[in-house]
């Protein structure tokens, strides 16, 4: 039907926008919620069949933009489209009786368009446009239920998102300038690798994308925002939208050219996030919050590896496929986990055990349980992380497993005898299946190695952190250990309180200042005015005129004599 598969690329972003537009029609809101799964279909098709590395020019749009699907982008695109599709199915059912269907459908589709567009943008301007779209319009999804907690979360999200946008914008400007004004992503990345590149460009980009991807000190929005959204939205937020940040790093970090400072900083922040976030996740009371911290942790892992690659100057061709594969797995698995958490309240007795089992498998896969897809993708990453990084990744299995256990422990209870509806269960199962199967399918094609090349013994030996985790979990359950509790968003609360105090102080100071300015002053006008009146009275006398006539006549004579 479509003659040129490259036309799928524009369609991939325009189609969701069209759906979004339809949601604006009066009364079409709930109808469009039902059509949510349709949004990512062109993108899915594009990821499968569109030609790789063939630019599609869009003359006249923005700064003569273009779209292009690279190999890495295709993985991101395909994974995101899959997740969005199944989340859409889930949402179509989950949100069917929502109060605000039009708003949900509108922003869902717009964010979808932005999210997919990020992966296929060929130039930085359209990239930035899509990034802003996905970044800022996710805000309405976060606050969809309008609960006070969600609103607070949304505000935090928005503030950091805007800061991130600005950092990225400035970073891209610096980068584009460094590349001689070029706006093609490849050219800009090449420009960043040059020694003449502006020293602030890469750090700004890292900060901007890091905010989106939950880089450790900038992650505070993520654990509050992801759980606040409705379940399907949480799934895409954590599964697909954070990947926009990762993809930004993938697209712009000048890999292949050693950049020690930026790379090491990114690596340290990433790896510390890997552990700290998982530990903080342990202390969460809500299952979705735990999952959100787990996302921070896993993204920390990816960014740590990217940082290592950046510092070491690894070739992009080696690093990126591994990163893409990991992102694919994490996106699908995390999406499935969120959907699973959403299923928990509707899973009665027997169903609950099934759900717990499925979640445990997914969790183990995330933690890197041998023979599951997670181990596969992690092994691909370990190859690129150096010895130390590989050790850290191995160790992280412990914390991740603990976090996953925590998630299962705090899973919401269901009323007895509930039965999950098919349209909610199916997406969960489909995503779980995809998460566990797709990496196996793609591993060889992407990395060029056969899966399970290593021998079984070393595999089992490497699993010791997981074993330790299992022991710890068993022990905790046995003694009834209660996890410590931390508020969502850890450092956020204290910061917010201080900001509020400072702004109150500033307002008070301003009020005091304007009061002191308003004090009445004596009026010099009246004093001078009276003098002027007296002077004027003198001039009105004929005598004065006569004298002045003499004076002026004298003055003319005197001046003429000079």
């Amino acid at each position: 039907m479509i003659a040129d598969p490259t036309l799928l690329l524009p369609l991939a972003v325009l189609w969701p926008m069209l759906l979004a537009g339809l949601a604006l029609l009066p009364g079409w809101g709930s109808r469009m919620v039902l059509l949510l799964p349709l949004g990512p279909l062109p993108a899915l098709a594009a990821a499968l069949v569109a030609s790789r590395d063939v630019p599609v020019a869009l003359p006249g749009v923005l700064l003569d933009s273009g779209l292009e699907l690279g190999a890495t982008g295709a993985l991101f695109l395909g994974g995101a489209a899959t997740l969005w599709f199944w989340a859409g199915v889930y949402a179509a059912f989950y949100m069917r009786r929502d109060e605000r269907p039009a708003g949900f459908a509108l922003f869902w589709n717009l964010v979808l368009a932005g999210n997919l567009g990020v992966f296929i943008a060929a130039d930085i301007v359209s990239f930035y446009v899509f990034f802003a779209l996905v970044s800022l319009l996710a805000y309405p999804l976060v606050i969809h239920d309008r609960q006070p907690a969600s609103m607070r979360a949304g505000t935090v999200y928005l503030v950091l998102a805007v800061c991130g946008e600005v950092a990225i914008l400035v970073g891209l400007m610096l980068a584009s300038f460094g590349a001689g004004g070029a706006i093609g992503i490849e050219a800009v990345r090449a420009g960043l690798a040059l020694p003449s590149a502006h020293p602030a460009a890469v750090p700004l980009l890292i900060a901007g994308f890091g905010i989106k991807a939950g880089l450790m000190p900038l992650h505070v929005w993520l654990p509050v925002a992801h759980p606040a959204a409705p379940v399907p939205a949480s799934a895409v937020l954590s599964g697909a939208i954070v990947k926009a940040g990762i993809f930004g790093l993938v697209a712009f970090l000048p890999l292949g050219m050693p950049a020690a400072v930026a790379g090491n900083v990114l690596m340290i922040l990433g790896f510390s996030g890997l552990f700290l976030a998982a530990l903080m996740g342990l202390a969460q009371a809500g299952a979705k919050a735990v999952l959100a911290y787990s996302t921070v942790s896993q993204m920390g892992l990816v960014m740590g590896v990217l940082g290592f690659a950046l510092a070491g100057g690894s070739a992009p061709a080696a690093v990126l496929p591994a990163v893409a594969l990991f992102a694919l797995h994490h996106g699908l698995a995390k999406g499935a986990l969120f959907l699973g958490v959403g299923l928990a309240p509707v899973c009665g007795r027997a169903w609950r055990w099934g759900l717990l089992g499925a979640l445990a498998v997914l969790g183990s896969s995330l933690a890197g349980m041998q023979l599951l897809a997670g181990a596969l993708v992690k092994s691909a990453l370990k190859d690129q992380a150096g010895a130390f990084g590989a050790t850290l990744i191995g160790l992280s299995a412990l914390t991740t497993a603990l976090a996953m256990a925590r998630c299962l422990a705090v899973l919401p209870r269901a009323k007895s005898r509930c039965r999950p509806p098919l349209l909610m269960a199916l997406p969960f199962l489909a995503l779980s299946g995809a998460a566990l199967w797709l990496p196996w399918l793609l591993y060889a094609r992407i990395t060029g190695e056969t899966p399970l090349a290593a021998d079984l013994r070393s595999l089992i030996f490497e699993a010791w952190p997981l074993g330790l985790a299992a022991l710890m979990i068993a022990g905790a359950v046995a003694v009834g250990l209660k996890a410590p509790s931390l508020p969502e968003g850890d450092a956020l609360g204290p910061v917010q309180r201080r900001v509020a105090a400072l702004s109150a102080a500033a307002r008070a100071a301003e009020r005091a200042g304007s009061r002191s300015l308003r004090r009445s002053r004596p009026k010099p006008q009246t004093v001078i005015g009276e003098d002027l009146d007296r002077i004027e009275d003198v001039f009105r006398e004929g005598a004065a005129a006569a004298i002045l006539v003499l004076a002026i006549a004298g003055a003319v004579v005197a001046a003429s004599l000079i």
Binding site: G542, A543, A546, I547, L550
Partner: protein, 105 residues
């Protein structure tokens, strides 16, 4: 010293006196008279300086005659205004007096 210069000097003194009077006097009628004295002085100067050694120059004479006509006209006009003003003041005073403001004969 030529006779003309005597006239001119006298005229200058007259003008000066008139000016002095104009400056120190306040009543408009007196001021008007002072100005007439100045005018007379100036005409004397004009006539005196125009008086040549041999023949009388017609120009200053014509000027003096014209000037005197103008001065007379202006003096009359000024005097009329002063009278009018005095009448108006009297009327105002009468109007504000308790006896109802009959014109003063």
């Amino acid at each position: 010293m030529v006779t003309g210069h005597v006239y001119a000097l006298t005229g200058a003194i007259l003008a000066g006196l008139g000016l002095f009077a104009f400056i120190i006097l306040r009543h408009p009628l007196r001021q008007l008279l002072a100005i007439n004295v100045v005018g007379a002085g100036i005409f004397l100067i004009l006539g005196g300086l125009g008086r040549g050694p041999d023949a009388t120059d017609p120009l200053p004479q014509a000027l003096v005659i014209t000037g005197i006509v103008v001065a007379v006209a202006l003096t009359a006009f000024g005097a009329a205004m002063i009278v009018r003003l005095a009448e108006a003041r009297a009327a105002t005073n009468a109007a504000t007096r308790p006896d109802g403001g009959k014109p003063v004969p």
